[in-house]
Symmetry: C2
Subunit: 259 residues, 2 copies
Amino acid sequence: MRVWSIANQKGGVGKTTTTVSVGGLLAEQGYKVLLIDLDPHGSLTSYFRYDLDNLTKSSYNLFLMTGELDPNEVRSLVHDTSVDNLKLIPATTALATIERQLHGQEGLGLKVSRGLAQLWDDYDFALIDTPPVLGILMINALAACEQLLVPVQTEHLAIKGLERMLRTIAMVNRSRKSELPYTIIPTMYDRRTQASVSSLRAMRNNFSDHIWPSMVPVDTRFRDASKAGLPASKYDPEGRGVHAYAALLKLLVAEQEQK
Amino acid sequence: MRVWSIANQKGGVGKTTTTVSVGGLLAEQGYKVLLIDLDPHGSLTSYFRYDLDNLTKSSYNLFLMTGELDPNEVRSLVHDTSVDNLKLIPATTALATIERQLHGQEGLGLKVSRGLAQLWDDYDFALIDTPPVLGILMINALAACEQLLVPVQTEHLAIKGLERMLRTIAMVNRSRKSELPYTIIPTMYDRRTQASVSSLRAMRNNFSDHIWPSMVPVDTRFRDASKAGLPASKYDPEGRGVHAYAALLKLLVAEQEQK
Ligand SMILES: Nc1ncnc2c1ncn2[C@@H]1O[C@H](COP(=O)(O)OP(=O)(O)OP(=O)(O)O)[C@@H](O)[C@H]1O
Ligand SMILES: Nc1ncnc2c1ncn2[C@@H]1O[C@H](COP(=O)(O)OP(=O)(O)OP(=O)(O)O)[C@@H](O)[C@H]1O
Ligand SMILES: [Mg+2]
Ligand SMILES: [Mg+2]
């Protein structure tokens, strides 16, 4: 199983949209895909019509499991989505209490990676969506993954946020055996806006060795797709946003196979 | 001094844009305005070209002040912006450590309101920008303000986020003498997108007694303005987004005068 996390400390940059779009395309290509929602706000969970406030099994349970883990207990957290081959471990608002309640507990940063290890042969890919805050939930996602996707809106303020995210990655790398590979994904690109054009150019200059050479354009179909509770590729396979994510995925999978 | 907070637990809905736009318009009308950045990510601080990582005086200092407060010590946290009549108490990334470091300290939820009380005669309005997370920083903003502005993107997922924000307001109201007035502001409305049109209608149906009857349309000039480090009204006074915020402000100020 390949584990990819989608993270950026800036809000509203397209993390959840990237998770659903990439997950949906992988599932359509026949891969078995598991999505994990680590955001207490639960956009990914709501996207697939689950109600955060009424779930008894969720990613929160991963943080309560101690000692020898039972694969069937982890499997019981998995829910269906509207798409074949695409499953979900949803979030609940209780995730927001973990930092205060479990602070100082041994191995708190590795709860998600230990839980996912129990499902290693069930799925080809696991994608983890994260909240826009540096804390124990993001640390778990960064510790559990082998590749990090960093969506960044093509606008001026987002570049400052990206520098902070890269400092977080450098911090995490100090406790990993090998450096965490990451890909910066320019999103919501609008060629009619001067700020969008110039910030994409600035991003390509400043972060040239980790940035995806293309970008995801602004596409109103993403909002329509989220209203329909479907990945964009199921909602409108010919959308320009879907084509962009398909091109990104082709590159990521090719790079992954080389390893 | 009137204190307004801008908050929503969902990321990327236009909180910082609303803070800058409303603040810029009030300053142009001759009011003395103070902006306060409580977001450890510091979009408002970056907007006005300050570097979060190199500031010695910031909103973080408000949380360290104890005992009898000295107005001049609070005044020393105030920085200039590119606009006359518009000042800023910036953020630093250290804000993200408050919850862990000061947890359990007496009166931690009232640090910002006690600090602002020292500047009561210096400004006509104080606007507080917040991070997209329920925690001690948002609690401080909700405790300090007399009016809450809740920007909500006109898209399907945002309505779920709004329900959660309203539960947070209900929680805060339990410890206030009188209910906190709040106004829901539909943002980034795009009449070409079916999801935008139907979610605005759903919002108006479900939250009719607290929603602003108009909305802020999608306007690419906001990104250009943020690149220029200017409020949208200074960047392009005739933009349709600026006109929308001017109409909102007229209503809010009129309502405020009636009290
Ligand atoms: N390429 C795009 N074009 C147009 N709209 C987009 C695009 N990508 C995402 N969106 C829209 O932008 C909004 C924010 O996206 P999303 O929720 O994926 O961001 P996020 O980073 O996950 O936010 P949060 O920080 O709250 O978790 C959503 O309404 C989504 O539909
Ligand atoms: N009406 C609008 N039309 C088009 N773009 C907008 C509009 N309002 C805000 N934006 C853009 O959307 C992005 C997110 O806005 P903003 O940073 O104000 O949201 P936020 O809620 O403060 O985000 P965060 O949760 O990260 O603090 C910015 O690029 C901003 O320029
Ligand atoms: Mg998200
Ligand atoms: Mg903001």
